[in-house]
């Protein structure tokens, strides 16, 4: 349990930090908010962008970016090209048995179901993350769709 002195010191420290920050670092030129992650600034939506896909780009970084990237396998598999791809089919990613055995093709509808409740979509898979907000799911799915078509096909 925190005593009052400890709490007071923490609040004082936090207030000082937020008010003044690190003097050295605050002197740096910041071109973009930290709230707009690198992926959002450097990975443009690759087809004529529907609003959902643009908004989905930032949301993707926020909601999915802890584990996923478009072009690198991290905690989860890479996502570029996921729409239209058979589930569990990337040769260089270690899927759960559930997804390895799955035979469905990722599309917008399945992705929406997956993001709503992945375990209900493919029991035994390993992603626990759920996104209950339907608008956010739609934006993220739109972003994934936009990054699943070849450049030549969309330009």
């Amino acid at each position: 349990m925190l005593n009052r002195k400890t709490l007071h010191l923490w609040l004082l420290g936090a207030a000082s930090f937020l008010a003044f920050g690190y003097a050295e670092l605050h002197s740096m030129s910041v071109e973009a908010s930290a709230d707009q992650p690198e992926t959002a600034r450097t990975m443009p939506v690759t087809r004529e962008s529907p609003t959902n896909a643009v908004e989905g780009q930032a949301l993707y970084a926020r909601r999915c970016g802890a584990c996923h990237s478009l072009d690198a396998n991290r905690i989860g598999p890479r996502h570029r090209g996921v729409v239209g791809r058979e589930a569990g089919s990337l040769p260089d990613y270690d899927y759960s048995d559930a997804l390895r055995r799955a035979t469905f093709i990722w599309d917008a509808e399945i992705l929406d179901r997956w993001l709503t409740n992945p375990e209900a979509t493919a029991p035994g898979q390993k992603m626990g993350f759920r996104l209950s907000n339907a608008d956010e799911r739609a934006q993220i799915v739109a972003f994934l769709e936009a990054n699943s078509e070849t450049t030549s096909a969309i330009e």
Partner: protein, 200 residues
């Protein structure tokens, strides 16, 4: 796979950090220590019964923590961080190490096999560390990962069979949010204008 201490060498003294504006990170760290967070994590995990799905979720969380530790290590070794910022990075990395240890212990206590860390070069490749050219780049990467981690921990809460694990996930999310908030402030970024922007 080795489990070496990832950031080598002594951290800057707390006095030095306090005199240079590192008050928030240190104070939050002290609060964590006072509250006995690590012990509570271990007990909550140990009290939990079976449930392979919970183990699977914990292992994803563990992989996330491994990557976070690696990311801070890459930042520390980049040569871009000033002494004071390096101290904060060490502090935040130590939180992720505590998360890692608690998660790994919990997984094992539940009969699972804890996922191992990858090599630093694996993380460097996955996180495109070669693109980091400045202290700001490093901090923005850290902020991005912390923001994602906060959302991830909130997003897995409904999937836990165990309410204890759900609560622990919320506590982990709070740690990541604290890191993101501090990093965002350091970068001069804006905090969210709206409420309830984390999780959805």
């Amino acid at each position: 796979m080795t489990n070496k201490t990832l950031i080598e060498g002594p951290a800057p003294s707390r006095r030095a950090l306090l005199t240079n504006g590192g008050k928030a990170a240190l104070s939050v760290s002290a609060i964590l220590a006072l509250s006995g967070a690590s012990g509570a994590l271990t007990r909550a995990f140990a009290d939990h019964g079976d449930a392979a799905q919970d183990v699977a979720i914990l292992n994803v969380a563990l992989a996330l923590e491994h990557e976070a530790i690696g990311a801070y290590q890459l930042g520390a070794e980049s040569g871009f961080l000033s002494k004071d910022v390096l101290g904060v990075a060490v502090e935040f990395q130590s939180h992720h190490k505590a998360h890692r240890d608690a998660l790994a212990g919990a997984i094992r206590s539940m009969g699972g096999e804890a996922v191992d860390t990858k090599t630093l070069s694996d993380y460097a490749k996955a996180l495109n560390a070669g693109s980091l050219k400045s202290q700001k780049d490093v901090l923005m990467l850290a902020a991005r990962l912390e923001l994602g981690a906060a959302n991830a921990y909130l997003g897995v809460i409904p999937s836990f069979e165990s309410r204890d694990l759900a609560q622990i996930s919320a506590r982990l999310a709070a740690d990541e949010t604290m890191h993101w908030t501090a990093l965002t402030s350091v970068l001069g970024g804006s905090l969210p204008k709206d409420a309830l922007t984390f999780g959805a």
